[in-house]
């Protein structure tokens, strides 16, 4: 098993190295750092912005927005998905709304939130959450539809308190859907957060990308974008993947 894992890791590392090599090769051929800087140039810019520039300040602002929108989207999506998956009547009523919100372009929600609420932090976070809630709802609803009715009976017979039922019976059954929506959620949310910052915030990675876009500064756009990609990858590797492995430990029969 560990040999397989080691092989898998080395394949991933080689694949990543090939991507970097391809990028470096293309940058060498273009030979213009203002059009496409190579990975070493971008890495240098990231280091310089981290040490002497405002990289961490903007990264912190973006991360806070991602966290707030993620918490909101997961909480509301979980409740809506659970209710819709368990109550057919509610599902029948709310399903058309869900379809509409699923197909509403992110840009429309962002612009409307800024127009209605103003260029505020609340509008920014709300716009991102509104974009993500329908997706979480859909995934959780599928999980809720597949809940084991015998476990409900068991919990009722043994008079499990409601809190214990939610924690030990309900949520573990939904853990695959929660994990999947959390992982796709973070990937989607941070991208929308950048758009929100691009359009109406005065800090964050999106704001910095906007700034350097106006200056036609490709290297800095790449430096800020890739710095944040690395942070999100780190979150995926350090938090989300280990959590998923831990949550699925019991499946190993």
């Amino acid at each position: 098993m560990s040999r397989l894992k080691a092989k898998d890791t080395s394949v991933r590392l080689i694949s990543l190295a090939l991507l970097l090599l391809g990028w470096a090769g293309l940058a060498f051929l273009i030979d213009d750092t203002q059009v496409l800087p190579g990975p070493i140039v971008v890495a240098g810019l990231i280091a310089s912005e981290a040490v002497n520039g405002p990289l961490f300040q903007h990264m912190g602002a973006t991360l806070l927005r991602v966290l707030a929108a993620f918490t909101l989207a997961m909480s509301y999506g979980l409740v809506f998905g659970l209710v819709m998956g368990r109550a057919k009547k509610v599902d029948r009523w709310l399903d058309p709304w869900l379809v509409i919100f699923l197909n509403l372009p992110a840009l429309v929600t962002i612009v409307l939130c800024y127009l209605w609420i103003g260029l505020t932090e609340v509008a920014a976070v709300l716009a991102v959450a509104i974009n993500k809630i329908p997706m979480v709802t859909t995934m959780i609803r599928e999980g809720a539809r597949a809940l084991d009715p015998e476990l409900d009976d068991m919990a009722q017979i043994y008079r499990m308190p409601l809190g214990a039922r939610a924690r030990h019976v309900l949520l573990p059954q939904l853990s695959p859907q929660i994990a999947a929506s959390a992982r796709t959620g973070t990937a989607l949310i941070w991208k929308i957060v950048l758009v929100v910052e691009f359009l109406g915030r005065s800090n964050g990675i999106g704001f910095q990308i906007h700034l350097y876009f106006q200056l036609f500064d490709v290297p800095m756009v790449l430096a800020y974008s890739l710095a944040f990609v690395m942070v999100m990858l780190l979150i995926e590797l350090v938090i989300l993947q280990p959590w998923e492995v831990r949550a699925n430990r019991w499946r190993r029969g």
Binding site: I157, Y158, A164, W250, G253
Partner: protein, 195 residues
């Protein structure tokens, strides 16, 4: 004493159960036999309080335990937690209960790491550990091989003998009924009634 005075039970326009009067006293074990689809599990669900949508009257105690057709365990919690979290009993009492059904030393395992027979033992331990007044068993030995069935029946018999519980169990097997039950009832007809 557990008693049901059922007038009828229907699913939509289809009447499944007719007039049924059944009571089980403390220390008595009633076996309910009948062909598949006759309504045995439906009657069981009514008597357990899981199904309250019927015409008639039910008298039952508060402390009820049930052994389901499938072990119906929390596969994501350990063997020990399956007793403590579900029933609210102490760890010590849970360990004793596991030992009583031959699962000592398996406390930290997850149910899917056990064999089917062991999972059924765990399900049995969960039912008995609550010291119920009324125990319901819905085909508790289904899909086990002959040797395991015999083991499980002996274990159930042993656990029942130690306690003065009113118990009702559904089975297809006359042999299982004869071994465990103090009284056998047959469900027959359409809508089904006790014969």
């Amino acid at each position: 004493m557990i008693s049901v005075d059922l007038k009828s039970k229907s699913f939509g326009s289809v009447q499944i159960l007719g007039e049924i009067k059944l009571s089980v006293s403390a220390g008595e074990c009633v076996a309910l036999l009948g062909p598949s689809g006759i309504g045995k599990t439906t009657l069981l669900r009514i008597m357990s309080g899981l199904d309250s949508d019927f015409a008639g009257h039910l008298t039952k105690p508060n402390r009820i335990a049930m052994v389901f057709q499938e072990p119906t365990l929390l596969n994501w919690r350990t063997v020990l937690q399956n007793l403590t979290l579900v029933t609210g009993i102490s760890t010590d009492k849970a360990r004793n209960a596991l030992s009583e059904v031959g699962l000592a030393g398996k406390e930290a395992l997850y149910p899917l790491q056990l064999s089917l027979g062991q999972r059924r033992r765990l399900s049995l331990a969960r039912a008995f550990v609550t010291d119920p007044d009324f125990l319901i068993m819905d085909e508790p030995f289904v899909s086990l091989d002959a040797e395991r069935i015999e083991e499980m029946m002996e274990l159930t018999q042993k656990l029942l003998n130690k306690r003065k519980i009113a118990s009702l169990f559904v089975t297809h097997s006359q042999e299982e009924a004869s071994m465990l039950a103090t009284r056998i009832q047959h469900l027959r007809g359409s809508p089904a009634t006790l014969a």
